[in-house]
């Protein structure tokens, strides 16, 4: 006779893994399709045993737009993240270490800017961008994404900075460190893990953003989200190639996401759930 705790654990294992596998299945199915030939990919009944091929990955690499879009995604995510960090770190530093009566309301106000639905301001942003020539440029998306994520980043950085022991900064001040030195040589190295995970969250959000990228780019500055959507028009059957392109597009962010689960919860709920 099996003991009850073990039986319970086995049942839980079965149920939980069933749920996990169902949820992961679409990603898995895409991954499998990326190693099939185009004909195998659309075969009915679906092929589970097939001769794997890497030809789709080779074909994707050869498409000029793909490489261009991948570069755009990297450049835009990095650019927007750096810009937001440059704006956000000083603000979070000031609010965490020199709080005033207004600090709390400033934080909440910043947060409230995040509540503006993008569709509500699509028209003016589109027209402004058209007038200053920012449509379909990397700079345009970098600005939008930096502004879009700035509230979350200030918020996260603020919570991380508050966890830095104040004594260390005080000691630095007694030794005569200027405010700039304090920020660059004490605070930033001390809270590097926090800054890194803030940056990671920003990169994830920029990489997957699909409202502004679809509406404000056409070809030159199109990141991977927009590139992938160009496959939605049924111009022949390219499922296997699409799967390969998609797999490459989501792989880095999936890894980043898995690495930063904890900070993700904190960042996305503005610290309301820790």
């Amino acid at each position: 006779m099996i003991n009850r705790p073990l039986l319970k654990k086995l049942t839980l294992t079965l149920v939980a893994w069933t749920a996990a596998l169902i949820m992961f299945f679409p990603v898995f199915w895409m991954l499998v399709a990326s190693f099939k030939t185009e004909i195998d990919a659309v075969a009915t009944p679906p092929m589970l045993v097939f001769k794997p091929t890497l030809e789709n990955y080779a074909a994707v690499q050869q498409r000029a737009n793909y490489i261009n879009s991948a570069i755009n995604s990297v450049a835009i995510s990095m650019g927007a993240t750096l810009l937001a960090l440059a704006l956000g770190i000083p603000a979070a530093y000031a609010m965490a270490f020199f709080p005033t009566r207004r600090t709390r309301s400033t934080l909440l106000w910043m947060l409230s800017t995040k509540m503006l639905p993008p569709v509500g301001v699509l028209v003016p942003i589109y027209l402004l961008f058209r007038d200053v020539g920012l449509i379909d440029t990397k700079a345009g998306l970098i600005i939008i994404y930096a502004l879009m994520n700035l509230p979350i980043m200030v918020w996260l950085l603020y919570t991380f900075f508050k966890e830095v022991p104040r004594d260390i900064l005080e000691a630095g001040r007694i030794d005569g460190a200027s405010r700039r030195q304090e920020l660059f040589y004490l605070l930033m190295p001390l809270s590097l893990p926090g800054i890194a995970s803030t940056a990671l969250l920003s990169i994830i959000l920029c990489w997957n953003e699909a409202f502004w990228s679809l509406n404000l780019t056409t070809s030159d500055a199109a990141p991977l989200t927009a590139f992938i959507s160009s496959f939605s028009a049924p111009e022949g059957l390219f499922w296997a190639k699409l799967s390969a392109a998609s797999t490459l597009a989501i792989a880095p962010i999936l890894l980043f996401g898995w690495m930063s689960q904890r900070q993700l919860v904190r960042g996305l709920t503005f610290g309301a759930v820790k």
Partner: protein, 294 residues
């Protein structure tokens, strides 16, 4: 001594905070004012000769247009359905994943994966590989059960969109509710068990009340995102068939970037902003409360 030190070094924080506040202020106010302004203008990009103050005309024609009400209803159905699915399943899965079982860390990684898949990719996976009426896996499964293959996006368009968006956001609800459950005091549960509380009593009288705030945060944050669902619709149904999956976001997109009617689109935008603000009000209040608690 320390307070004295901080006090003697009065720091001017203005140069540090101002850049962030200023850009966010511009980012919020400029487009907002422009949207409001355009919503009272006759302004069509295709017809530059038609210009001038329109008064409430854009709003009147928008309200008279049945497309707006269809879109509002669709938005409501989409938001409510996905909220229902993600919160209920998310809570159950969070309880499940809080238990000990074999391979939990790996199962956890797998189940949260959909959240990191970009919307355009998940829309295409579902459209081409799962729900496609001829080559899709679901069509194969229903056919092997002896049933007809279902044309999901043709006959059940809203259900299909709800499935896709739920798949993407269930991991978000799970992740947050799981984090919240883990902060539950184990001694409290043990004590309740000692007193003879069964599994369902434990769930309804201890776990669920503990999750109240986390659930309301999930509901509010998801609502703000679901009000603007766009890529999934653009890629799978383009708002159709007819207007069956046109939500407010998609209607504004049609009016502005496809029909170039800036005035009408802006009036729609104002409605979207008002809707989001109702939710935002409660969200900010909840978060402010948690800020005070530290």
């Amino acid at each position: 001594m320390m307070t004295a030190l901080t006090k003697t070094r009065r720091v001017n924080t203005l140069p540090l905070i101002t850049p962030s506040v200023l850009v966010l202020f511009l980012w919020m106010v400029v487009p907002l004012v422009m949207t409001l302004w355009f919503s009272f203008q006759r302004y069509n990009l295709l017809n530059p000769s038609v210009k001038g103050f329109a008064g409430l005309e854009n709003y009147k024609s928008l309200v008279a247009d049945s497309a707006l009400w269809t879109a509002m209803l669709n938005t409501l159905v989409l938001v409510a359905s996905v909220l229902g699915v993600t919160v209920v399943l998310g809570t159950l899965l969070a309880v499940l994943f809080n238990q000990e079982f074999f391979g939990r860390p790996v199962a956890r990684l797998l189940i949260i994966a959909p959240f990191f898949v970009m919307p355009t990719v998940s829309a295409l996976i579902w459209k081409n590989m799962l729900l496609h009426p001829v080559n899709g896996l679901v069509a194969f499964l229903t056919r092997s059960l002896g049933l007809e293959a279902i044309d999901w996006f043709g006959n059940w368009p809203m259900t299909s969109i709800v499935m896709i968006v739920s798949w993407q956001w269930l991991p978000f609800a799970l992740l947050i509710l799981l984090t919240a459950i883990q902060s539950l005091d184990n001694e409290q549960i043990e004590a309740a068990r000692m007193d003879g509380a069964g599994a369902s009593a434990l769930f309804f009288f201890i776990i669920l009340p503990h999750l109240k705030r986390a659930i309301s945060v999930v509901v509010m944050i998801e609502t703000i995102f679901f009000l603007s669902v766009f890529a999934e619709i653009l890629i799978t149904t383009s708002g159709g068939p007819g207007l069956a999956t046109t939500n407010l976001a998609f209607l504004i997109y049609i009016r502005s970037l496809l029909e170039y009617d800036v005035g009408a689109a802006s009036a729609g935008g104002v409605i979207a902003i008002v809707l989001a603000n109702v939710v935002a009000f409660f969200l900010v209040r909840t978060i402010a409360r948690s800020l005070e608690e530290g």
